[in-house]
């Protein structure tokens, strides 16, 4: 073989979309390729900026979301109050930033809780199969037959208004969604030769599930978690907007928007700014979700 037929050293850097990660360093290359993904990087940039605004900025400047000032009620956006003030003269910027923190943390709790419990149920149902798996999955199908947001609203109302109850109610809606995905994926890999090999080698059932099955269903879980993070943010604010979420004076984006509706003819800024922040957050999460789906789940249509 002559030198001319060998690939030049620089050629290896050319990304090949069909190549499987074969060597340790190609994992880093996969990360670099993922970052070149347009929607993924755009989503990450927007999401980082919003997270800095909600989590870091309040540490650097002193803002008080509940301090009332009767002298400046319903002030439109000015230099001192960039987003204006509400009916109690509270600074809307402070309320939006602190409220966004509550909304984001609540949405994260929802998806993490729902994904964790749903994955556990899905793994058990899929791995055990038989009557137990069948019974669990029929129950899951039944729960999926109810439109989610309705059940979440009703469960929150029954548990009593409050953010924590809202989080639990929406997480409960997510459990069957994750269980269905994980169960399907588990059934697919359950009897593959490498799992069989682990079983023959004497690995315990728990070890087989966690060490050999879970990593294979993980990419689907990550994509679903991102997709549902956006929906969870919309639902948690919807619950706040209806008045079943956090109770005043604690700020939360949905609760602020409820306030905005009451004064909509008087003060447009109370409606516009919190909604803008929320929409940007959901857009960024959905962009990340789309990018992750393209990168992690080649079985889904790439379009």
């Amino acid at each position: 073989m002559t030198d001319s037929t060998q690939m030049p050293a620089g050629f290896a850097a050319e990304p090949d979309p069909t190549a499987l990660p074969a060597r340790p360093w190609s994992r880093r290359r996969a990360l670099l390729r993922a970052l070149r993904h347009r929607s993924l990087s755009l989503g990450l940039v927007i999401c980082t900026v919003l997270a800095l605004l909600a989590f870091v900025l309040p540490l650097l400047i002193t803002i008080d979301p509940v301090a009332q000032d009767p002298m400046t009620t319903f002030s439109p956006p000015t230099a001192t109050h960039i987003m204006g003030t509400d009916a109690f003269g509270r600074d809307l910027l402070a309320r939006v930033l602190i409220g966004a923190r509550t909304t984001i943390l609540a949405s994260l709790s929802v998806v993490l809780l729902g994904a964790f419990v749903g994955t556990a149920i899905g793994l058990v149902a899929g791995y055990s199969g038989g009557a137990l798996g069948f019974g669990i999955m029929r129950l899951i199908d039944l729960l999926l037959a109810f439109p989610g947001i309705l059940l979440a609203l009703t469960v929150t109302a029954i548990l009593g208004p409050g953010l924590v109850n809202g989080v639990f109610a929406i997480a409960a809606i997510l459990v069957p969604v994750f269980a269905r995905l994980v169960e399907g994926a588990t059934v697919e890999v359950r009897n593959l030769p490498y799992v069989e090999a682990a079983r023959c080698a004497g690995a315990s059932q728990l070890r087989i599930i966690l060490r050999y099955i879970l990593p294979n269903v993980m990419s689907g879980i990550i994509v679903l978690t991102t997709t549902w993070l956006g929906i969870a943010a919309l639902w948690i604010t919807a619950i706040g907007f209806i008045g079943l979420g956090v109770q005043p004076p604690t700020p939360e984006l949905g609760a602020i928007l409820n306030d905005g509706q009451n004064y909509i003819m008087l003060a447009w800024w109370i409606t516009v700014f919190p909604g803008l922040f929320l929409s940007l957050f959901v857009v960024s999460v959905n962009l990340i979700g789309d990018g992750l789906r393209d990168e992690l789940d080649p079985t889904l249509n790439r379009g």
Binding site: L142, F146, P147, L159, G243, S279
Partner: protein, 306 residues
């Protein structure tokens, strides 16, 4: 075919039974005494408490309560709404038409505009129109409907008053709520139809037709769209349920007298008889529309029945 229909039929009967059980349990899961919770702690009317307790049959074992309740439901008796001082069935009958109108209008808007955007994006794949269309679809899916509703109210009540903003029931009052409700579903449909058309475009028979010189227009309407639009039918069933539950928020924002607003009012007023009936009704409509789609699909696409 007969076996397929039978299987779907058994599934929907089991599902209907399950839905009634869940709806039944909703009231029984209320912590504490549901009768006190429903009437409020201030309600000292002994006679009313006793009447409600008997109506709910709370003194009997749970399975007996279920059969008593389901017997009432089958006779069209969903109980009495103390918050509204009328029977739940008459409440539903008076508010259902507004919601049906809203849901159908939103479904139509989301299918027409979603198809348009999706088809254009698929045909102009990876070009500016595709990026713009898919960006728009993503934004539509991300905007909370209640915020969009408020923005539209802000826009059309203050600056450009051509539509009835709140409480309208005619066509002028339908436009803004229907657009608000449709937007998220429209974004989803645009993305779905785009990938469906792209999949159809790459099929062998389309490639063959193009190779033998079928005109592009005829190729598109005859060979591509027939295959691409069929999968949409499967999601329409799901979307009726989603739009029905979305109407809960939209009707509240626009003060439209439908079952969505009725449900929120019932939830806030702890009027659990109404909540129970509405949850059950919406879930049944959802299940039924999926069933109809399941039955219709093999008629339109004979490959499924096998």
């Amino acid at each position: 075919m007969a076996g397929y229909v039978l299987k779907r039929l058994v599934a929907i009967i089991a599902l209907t039974f399950g839905i009634t059980v869940v709806a039944f349990l909703i009231i029984r899961l209320i912590p504490g005494d549901p009768v006190i919770a429903m009437l409020g702690t201030g309600a000292g009317d002994k006679e009313m408490i006793a009447r409600l307790r008997e109506q709910l049959g709370l003194t009997r074992p749970l399975h007996e309560q279920y059969f008593v309740w389901i017997g009432q439901v089958l006779r069209g008796d969903f109980g009495y709404s103390y918050a509204n001082q009328q029977t739940v069935s008459s409440l539903i009958a008076s508010s259902f038409p507004a919601t049906a109108q809203l849901t159908l209008a939103a479904l139509t808007i989301s299918l027409i505009f979603g198809s348009a955007i999706g088809i254009i994006a698929a045909v102009r794949r990876n070009r500016a129109a595709d990026t713009a269309g898919m960006g728009l679809a993503l934004i539509c899916m991300s905007i909370p409907s209640f915020w969009l509703g408020l923005l539209l109210i802000l826009m059309f009540a203050v600056t450009w008053p051509i539509f009835d903003v709140v409480g309208g029931t005619g066509l002028k009052g339908l436009v803004l709520p229907a657009v608000t409700l449709a937007l998220g579903t429209m974004g989803f449909n645009a993305r779905f139809i785009r990938s469906s058309v792209i999949a159809a475009l790459s099929q062998q028979h389309v490639v063959t037709a193009r190779a033998k010189g079928v005109p592009e227009m005829r190729l598109f309407t005859w060979h591509v769209m027939r295959n691409a639009l069929l999968p949409i039918l499967t999601i329409v069933g799901l979307q009726i349920g989603q739009l029905l539950s979305g109407s809960v928020i939209v009707e509240t924002v626009f003060s439209r007298p439908g079952i969505g607003r009725l449900l929120i009012q019932a939830i806030l007023a702890k009027d659990y008889m109404t909540v129970q009936a509405l949850i059950m009704m919406i879930a049944l409509i959802y299940a039924l529309s999926n069933f109809i789609v399941d039955i219709l699909y093999p008629v339109l696409d004979p490959r499924i029945a096998r």
